[in-house]
C-alpha cells in the first residue's frame, strides 16, 4: 500500500498564535504532501515497494537519495505533527528523571535543545532521542535526515523533534528563528513525547 499523508489530530489554527494556521496548512498540504508523493514515486515498482518507512530509513545507506530525502521528509513530518498540539502535560516520572540525569534539569534540557535548533545551519531538524543504552541526548540533522537513519552520526529513538527548515516558520517569524523556537515550547504535546519515551 502506498504511503498516505496523515490527517492532523487538531485544526490548522489550533497552534495559534505560536504557529499560524497558514503555515500549518501549507506545511501539511504542500510540503509534507510532496514528500509523500515523491516517496511513493521513488519506491514504486522497486523491491522497496511495500516496506515500512522505518525499515527503509534504518537501511537508508543502501537506498537512493530520493528515498533518503523524501522518506525522511515523510517520516519527520508524520512525527512532528504528533508531538505538536495544544500544549498537553509536562514531563513527569521516569521520563523527567531521565531528562534530569542527561541534562541536569528540564530547563537545562530546553536550553540545549534550543541551541541545537538555533545553530543547525541551513535546513534541518533538532531532536531529543533515546539512545540504545537508554540515555537521552539532543542532536540535530541536516535536511530531512533523522536519527533512525543508519547514516546518522547520532542514532536513537526520536522522542521530540523541531523542524527548522525556513518553511516551518518564515511566514510568521521570517529571519527570527529563535522566536519560533521559543514559541514551540507552548505547543508541545508532552503526553505524546512521554509515550514515545516509554515505548522507545
Amino acid at each position: 500500500m502506498a504511503f498516505q499523508l496523515p490527517e492532523l489530530n487538531y485544526k490548522y489554527d489550533a497552534l495559534e498564535p505560536y504557529i499560524d494556521a497558514q503555515t500549518m496548512e501549507i506545511h501539511h498540504t504542500k510540503h509534507h504532501s510532496t514528500y509523500t508523493d515523491k516517496l511513493n514515486g521513488a519506491v514504486k515498482g522497486t523491491a522497496d515497494e511495500g516496506k515500512s518507512i522505518e525499515d527503509l530509513l534504518k537501511d537508508v545507506s543502501n537506498k537512493s537519495i530520493a528515498i533518503r530525502n523524501n522518506g525522511g521528509g515523510f517520516y519527520n513530518h508524520n512525527f512532528f505533527w504528533e508531538i505538536l498540539g495544544p500544549s498537553k502535560g509536562m514531563p513527569s516520572g521516569e521520563f523527567l528523571k531521565a531528562i534530569e540525569t542527561a541534562f541536569g534539569s528540564f530547563d537545562a534540557f530546553k536550553v540545549e535543545f534550543a541551541n541545537a535548533a538555533t545553530t543547525r545551519f541551513g535546513s534541518g531538524w533538532a531532536w531529543l532521542i533515546k539512545q540504545s543504552d537508554g540515555s537521552l541526548t539532543v542532536t540535530s540533522t541536516p535536511n530531512q535526515d533523522n536519527p533512525i537513519m543508519d547514516i546518522s552520526v547520532v542514532t536513537g529513538v526520536p522522542l521530540l523533534a523541531l523542524d527548522v527548515w525556513e518553511h516551518a516558520y518564515y511566514l510568521k517569524y521570517q529571519n527570527r528563528r529563535p522566536e519560533y523556537i521559543d514559541a514551540f515550547w507552548n505547543v508541545v504535546n508532552w503526553t505524546k513525547v512521554e509515550d514515545n519515551f516509554k515505548r522507545g
Binding site: I26, K30, H31, T34, I65, N69, F121, G122, S123, G124, P142, N143, Q144, W165, E166, H167, Y170, L171, Q174, N175
Partner: protein, 191 residues
C-alpha cells in the same frame, strides 16, 4: 577588518513583481546584514582577522566560512539582478553559453533543473573553469565555487528565505521570475 553591508544597486521595490519589496527588505536588510554581523563578531582573534573576503571564502571553516561565504554569495546574487534585466545574453557570454550548452534555452533548462532539484538550502552557480569552459553546479548551504578554483559568473539563492514570502513552496515560480531579472552585462563583466 570590519565588513559592511554593500549598497543594493537598485531600490528595494525595483524587482517587483518577481521579488517583492518585503522579501528584499528581509533578505538584504536582515539575512545579509546578519551574516555580516556574525562574521564581524567571529573574526577578531581568529586566523582570518586580517584576510579579505575571498580568502575567507576559499580557506575558512565552520562559522567563519558559513557567514563569510553567505556574505560573498548574497553580494554576488543581489548584484546579478536588475529591474532592467532578463532576456537573452549578448556578446561574449552568449557565445560561451552556446559553445558549452548548445543553445541558451538548453542552458536555461539545465540551470533551472539544478535550482529546482537542489534539496534543502543552497545555491546554483554558473561557473567558468580553468580551461575556460562553463558549468552549472549545485552547492549546499553556504558553499561557493571559489573553493574549487572555479570562477563564479551567476548564482541563484534557493534558500527558502529567498522566495517564501512571495512564492511559499512554489520554488519553480521564483526561478521563472529570476530569469526576468538577470543582469547579463554584469555576468559578462565577470568573465
Amino acid at each position: 577588518m570590519k565588513f559592511e553591508l554593500p549598497q543594493l544597486p537598485y531600490a528595494a521595490d525595483a524587482l517587483e513583481p518577481y521579488i517583492s519589496k518585503k522579501t528584499i527588505e528581509y533578505h538584504y536588510g536582515k539575512h545579509h546584514q546578519t551574516y555580516i554581523n556574525k562574521l564581524n563578531d567571529l573574526l577578531p582573534g581568529s586566523d582570518f582577522e586580517k584576510c579579505d573576503l575571498d580568502t575567507i571564502v576559499k580557506k575558512g571553516h565552520n562559522g567563519i566560512f558559513n557567514n563569510g561565504a553567505q556574505v560573498w554569495n548574497h553580494t554576488f546574487y543581489f548584484s546579478s539582478l536588475s529591474p532592467n534585466g532578463g532576456g537573452k545574453p549578448k556578446g561574449k557570454i552568449a557565445q560561451l553559453i552556446e559553445d558549452n550548452f548548445g543553445t541558451f534555452e538548453k542552458f536555461q533548462e539545465i540551470f533551472t533543473k539544478a535550482a529546482t532539484t537542489l534539496f534543502g538550502s543552497g545555491w546554483v552557480w554558473l561557473v567558468q573553469k580553468d580551461d575556460g569552459s562553463l558549468e552549472v553546479l549545485k552547492a549546499s548551504n553556504a558553499d561557493n565555487p571559489l573553493r574549487n578554483g572555479h570562477k563564479p559568473l551567476l548564482t541563484i539563492d534557493v534558500w527558502e528565505h529567498a522566495y517564501y514570502l512571495d512564492y511559499q513552496n512554489r520554488r519553480p515560480d521564483y526561478i521563472d521570475g529570476f530569469w526576468k531579472l538577470i543582469n547579463w552585462d554584469v555576468v559578462e563583466s565577470r568573465l
